[in-house]
């Protein structure tokens, strides 16, 4: 055999028969790195997942259809409303005129109401004016009453002044009587003390503290200075120079002697006599005058028409 024959025989070498299952096995063993699922593989999957794109598209289309239907419904409704409104707007000029007329009528009505109010106010003002016209007469009457009242008030004030004088006088009289009362109590104390000391009078008021209830009776109520300073003191603190009364008693005075002055009030000219009585002397018309005999003071009947100075300083005879 030459080379050509050999090559011819080699090129036409018989081909081995392949098992029919091999192709299926090889196709089943295909394992690509980026394999996409085949139709057969897709059959094993969830049908919902397989049909998801179609279902999604169908849902989208259905939603679109629903939206279109809703929009069509809205459009129809709006058209109907539009038609109704257009029909209504045909009467709009007339309604505007009516509205204008109504507004005018309303304005007139408001104006009328305002006018009525003004009228009522005017009437009320007129009534007030009528009332006020009578006011000057009332003012005159009031002025007259005022004058009368002023006169009455001034009279009352004058009366009040006289009342004050009367009150002062009464006050002075009450104080005078209180002073007399004080001197009477002091005189009683003198007599009690003398009863315990052989009818001898004391020359001090403080020694009669047991006989005197309180030192307050040793201060004349009209002696305001001593009242403030000494009236509230006790006998332990009280001294003879604190009393308002002037002691004229002598050391050897006795209760049995003719009544002489043992104490006197220099303010009221009240005289305590040794018999315990108290004599009041009116300075304008004195009934007595002081007389000194043997170192003692006595009250003696004064001459008619004499004054207190005359009584104190009688003319020399």
């Amino acid at each position: 055999m030459n080379d050509t024959t050999i090559e011819k025989l080699l090129f036409h070498a018989p081909k081995p028969l392949v098992s029919p299952d091999l192709l299926k096995r090889l196709q089943a063993d295909i394992a690509l790195p980026n394999a996409k699922p085949t139709a057969k593989a897709r059959e094993g999957q969830n049908p919902l997942r397989r049909w998801f794109p179609a279902l999604g598209f169908a849902v989208f289309m259905l939603s679109c259809a629903i939206m279109v239907a809703v929009q069509a419904s809205w459009s129809t409704k709006l058209k109907t409303e539009n038609t109704t409104l257009r029909a209504t707007t045909a009467d709009l000029p007339k309604l505007r005129e009516q509205h204008t007329a109504l507004e005018q009528a309303q304005g007139e009505h408001d104006e009328l109401v305002q006018l009525r109010k003004d009228n009522e106010e005017l009437h009320s003002l007129q009534a007030e004016v009528a009332q006020l016209r009578g006011v000057p007469e009332q003012i005159q009457q009031l002025q007259l009453e005022n004058r009368q009242l002023s006169a009455a008030a001034s009279a009352r004030i004058a009366n009040a002044v006289s009342d004050a004088a009367i009150f002062d006088e009464a006050q002075a009289r009450a104080e005078r009587i209180q002073c007399v009362n004080n001197l009477k109590q002091v005189g009683l104390a003198f007599r009690i003390w003398a009863g315990d000391h052989r009818d001898k009078f004391p020359t001090s008021l403080v020694v009669m503290s047991n006989e005197l209830s309180t030192p307050k009776i040793l201060v004349c109520p009209s002696d305001s200075a001593r009242q403030q300073q000494y009236a509230s003191l006790r006998f332990g603190e009280f001294q003879d120079n604190m009393t308002s009364y002037v002691l004229t008693v002598q050391p050897d005075d006795e209760s049995a002697n003719p009544p002489c002055i043992i104490a006197k009030c220099p303010i009221h000219h009240n005289y305590l006599l040794s018999d315990g009585s108290v004599q009041q002397v009116n300075l304008k018309n004195p009934a007595y005058r002081e007389v000194q005999k043997d170192g003692r003071w006595y009250l003696q009947a004064a001459e008619p028409g004499s004054t207190w100075n005359d009584a104190i300083n009688p003319p020399a005879k």
Binding site: M1, N2, D3, I6, E7, K8, L9, L10, F11, H12, A13, P14, K15, P16, L17, V18, S19, L22, L23, R25, L26, Q27, D29, I30, A31, L32, P33, N34, A35, K36, P37, T38
Partner: protein, 186 residues
């Protein structure tokens, strides 16, 4: 077919299982035939074919298309066969019955029985070649690969392929010359 195979390969790289299936349909018979002639039995050939395609799918990402898909696939099959052969120290050669059976079931250009017998004898002589020459003859003649494609599959230069083929043809011619006088005598 090469362009179609490259297109299918590109689609398979993107994960198209249908394209991968088409590639299998296109090439499984040639690969099975190549491995069947080398391995010597159907079961091993089927296993090696499955391994070849499995390695093809694994290496599909690294396929740079420097050669045709057919060449690249034959290279994988060649390496799968070498790995298998290393594990099997003793190789089985095809028996005469197998070649006869194949010739009986497959249409051949041989008209008479004498030509068929000559062809069977020739195929047996090819199996007697050393491994490199036998691989070269299988790829170039049995698998119809070009010289360059054969060189790419074997990882050698085209001139080496030519040399090996020349050596193989010389051997076959010598063997043929040795047997012809015997036939004439018979």
């Amino acid at each position: 077919m090469s362009d179609a195979a490259d297109i299918l390969c590109e689609r398979a790289r993107k994960g198209d299982l249908f394209a991968a299936s088409e590639l299998v349909t296109l090439f499984y018979q040639r690969i099975f035939g190549y491995l069947r002639r080398l391995s010597g039995n159907d079961d091993d050939a089927a296993d090696l074919t499955q391994k070849t395609f499995a390695r093809t799918w694994q290496s599909l990402e690294s396929y740079k298309q420097r050669s045709s898909f057919s060449t690249w696939l034959h290279g994988i099959a060649h390496h799968v066969y070498l790995d298998w052969r290393r594990k099997r120290t003793l190789g089985d050669s095809q028996s005469d019955e197998w070649w006869e059976a194949q010739s009986d079931n497959t249409p051949t250009p041989f008209e008479n029985a004498a030509e068929r017998e000559t062809a069977h004898q020739l195929y047996r002589w090819v199996d007697e070649l050393d491994e490199e020459k036998k691989q070269t003859v299988h790829l170039h003649y049995y698998q119809n690969l070009t010289l360059n494609e054969t060189a790419d599959v074997l990882g050698v230069a085209a001139s080496t392929v030519k040399y090996r083929l020349r050596e193989a043809l010389d051997y076959l011619r010598r063997r043929s010359a040795e047997t012809e006088p015997e036939r004439k005598v018979v």
